[in-house]
Amino acid sequence: MERKLEKFFYDDNIVKMFIMATLFWGGAAFLVGLIIALQLAYWPLNLNLDFLTFSRLRPLHTNAAIFAFAGNAIFAGIYHSSQRLLKTRLFSDFLTKLHFWGWQTIILAALITLPLGFTQGKEYAELEWPIDLMITIIWVVFAVNFFGTIARRREQHLYVAIWFYIATIVTVAMLHVVNSIEIPVSFLQSYPVYAGVQDALVQWWYGHNAVAFFLTTPFLGLMYYYIPKAVNRPIYSYRLSIVHFWALVFIYIWAGPHHLLYTALPEWSQTLGMIFSVMLWAPSWGGMINGLLTLRGAWHLLRTEPIVQFLIAAVTFYGMATFEGPLLSIKSVSALGHYTDWIIGHVHGGALGWNGFLAFGMIYYLVPRLWGADGMYSKKLMSYHLWIALTGILLYYISMVSAGITQGLMWRAISPTGQMTYPDFVQTVNAIRPLYWVRVFGGLLFITGYFIGIYNIWKTIAMGKKVSPVEQQAYALTFKDDSNENAHRKLEGLGTVFTVLVLVSVIVGSVIEILPTLSIHKHLPQDEQILPYTALEQLGRDVYVTEGCYVCHSQMIRTYTPDVIRFGPSSTIAESMYDHPFQWGSKRTGPDLARVGGKYPDLWHYRHMVDPRSMNNQSIMPAYGWLETKKADFYSLRKKLSVLRTLGVPYTDEQVSQADIWAEKQAEEVAAQLEKDGAPAGLKDKKIVALIAYLQCLGKKAKTGTDTSKWNNFPFKKVAGGEQ
């Protein structure tokens, strides 16, 4: 059969656009990171402004780093390398542009809504439902564009980088859709359909695999293209590519529960999460080995070429992070490290070292080529960027791991008679505050490197000559007979079958782990069940979510002696069975709140919220003064309770139809007592009253408890002699 030579152009303009977006949003993500690092070291920088408070900005930082910085970098690299690896222009210019502008709109929406407190309270999935819908649509646009490109390819077999891109696209779609099933209560608020332990499991299945399939697989794909291109050496081992790809894709999806060790999650699920994390070590290192050993015969480039240095440093950080990850997943190690800054150090080793350096290495490789310059403007500035940023990452990492281990050890320091050595939580925070300053300095160095990079890139672009698109030539795809090849080689020629197999690989672990948990609340014995929140408590819970309290406070006392001694009996599954969303948290910058109800008087909470230092002079918590001036929206409660009821919370018809009255009456009582005790008058319709009601019920909703509030029994039955 005659092969037809076809002519076409690559779309490099879109790559340039995504690179610009990466650099722009990267700067924003780093700066917000620096601000919140400063706020932890020096609390007055919260500035008493709600939208600049740590608990509102931290979600903005994580979302910007993951979806804006890493996201745009991935899209730039995938669109650039895929066209070349598949020898075709992208499927549709329209979809390409829609993808770009749609994604930037999503980021902009996040930038506006998160500081304003519109959040679902689930980490890395905070964005509210309209934005979730936009993400879904744009991801489908990306998928159609990408798979359309594969369909139009002129290369029979798919290269390993493409395998990783496929895994990214199908798995992220699955994770996002499943974790974002929620019911709107208003334009910018919704409740997830999952509650408590289910929500926790689905969320960390999502959260962990966002790391896996948004920050790992796409970057491995980029590594498989840009390292061999930069060093001009063949990939070390095709066989290793196959084994580690499939092992990684199959095993990664199981590892989510390692974020929930020692919690109320059933133990079999925790154990699965741990052992699959341990088994993930070698498959992860397979990628590192293939990246590093591709340099064989070209090691000298590591001495002279900053691009190669960036890429290899990235792969090295990948190796470190994927060793540390399985280590932290071992139950007894997690007991020490969970809720501490060790985890913060761990993710920044990955995000700054692996994602950051790989992105910068790739950008330095691409900028001169795309903008028509003979190499970067200054090699020396690239070196400065590398070494300054590297020092920054190491300072960040070492200070946070030290802080985490120090605080973890202080939390568990207990005498043989159960006496805590550091009973006041704030003592353990004070001990690590100097390390928060080291972290600030590390972050500052990383950002300094970034600005050096921006200058260098700007000068390079200014130097560039106008490039007109180069005409490419390739033969139209004719499927050669590959029946004498091995099975995997044949599979590489079958894009659809390959994609389906990837999907099956990630569905197996997901179904086995998640499905049994979905019915868990139905099987709880009656006497273990709890009472739903009163309308006011639920309203206070929404304030808790809006302010992002979960960013610093857990609501999960682990099945772990030091936790039980410090905070009370370990949390049960039932205690969060009506929690849409769960608020177990993942970090304790402040103490656990699962049993804070009744521990302090209402007035203590009032004063502590308005000025934390007045109740604990060493506290680093921001002041939440606006809670005593902003009004609580009682009227929204009818809709909220009705949505919660459809999700299985047992409210009566009257409770739903009179939700606002229910809340107002309880609020009046709380406010009257507050006023009597010395708080200002007129708090009854303020957010702070709802929040206090919520905090005071934490850990006290057991049906069999002796201390249940009369407000649980609303509406009161008329009995002789007035209200009950």
Binding site: S81, R84, L85, E155, H157, Y159, Y225, K229, P234, I235, Y236, S237, Y238, R239, L240, S241, V243, E267, W268, Q270, T271, L272, M274, I275, F276, V278, M279, W281, A282, P283, W285, G286, I289, K331, I414, P416, T417, G418, Q419, M420, P423, D424, T559, Y560, T561, I565, R566, S570, G598, K599, Y600, P601, D602, L603, W604, M615, N617, D677, G678, D707
Partner: protein, 192 residues
Amino acid sequence: MSDNPNDKYDVVLDHEYDGIQELNNPLPMWWLWTFFGTIIFAFIYWIHYSVGGGMSLDGHLQAQLQQIEEQKQLEAKNQPQKNEADLETLPKNAAVVAQGNKVFQMNCANCHGDKGQGGIGPNLTDNYWIHGDGKMTSVMATIKDGVLEKGMPSWGPIFKPEEIEALAAFVVNLRGSNPANAKAPQGEDKGS
């Protein structure tokens, strides 16, 4: 795979993508055995903790809590109980009161005022007591167990026994100190 002596190193495959070639090197042995090792570990661990009788996290916790409880009882037995008369001498012991003051300022002053004049919590300097009679044993009990429905936390798990004694001594010693801005009396007059 790689223990096969026929495996050839650095064989370039006929794959080529945008100039990128691939070698067909065998999997590194140490890598493969690490992988197998983790799988074997995972298997054994799973068996041990699912059907092999490995102790559950809760079992572990209960065992530790019981150990702590036994240790507590042992120490309580070995420590001679101070009788009421011994305890009532403590508020007159300046060193003990000074130690109590230190603990008070760090933990109690936020609610009871730095001089015990009261705030969120009641005034501790007058003759009126809500719980107990203002004697050492009853003040110690209130500190140790708290009065949860009134918002007084239980400090038993936090303070050492001698700290609770010192703190109570400080509080008892406050009586009649008559500080400025004292909160109005609450509870019953127990006399001086």
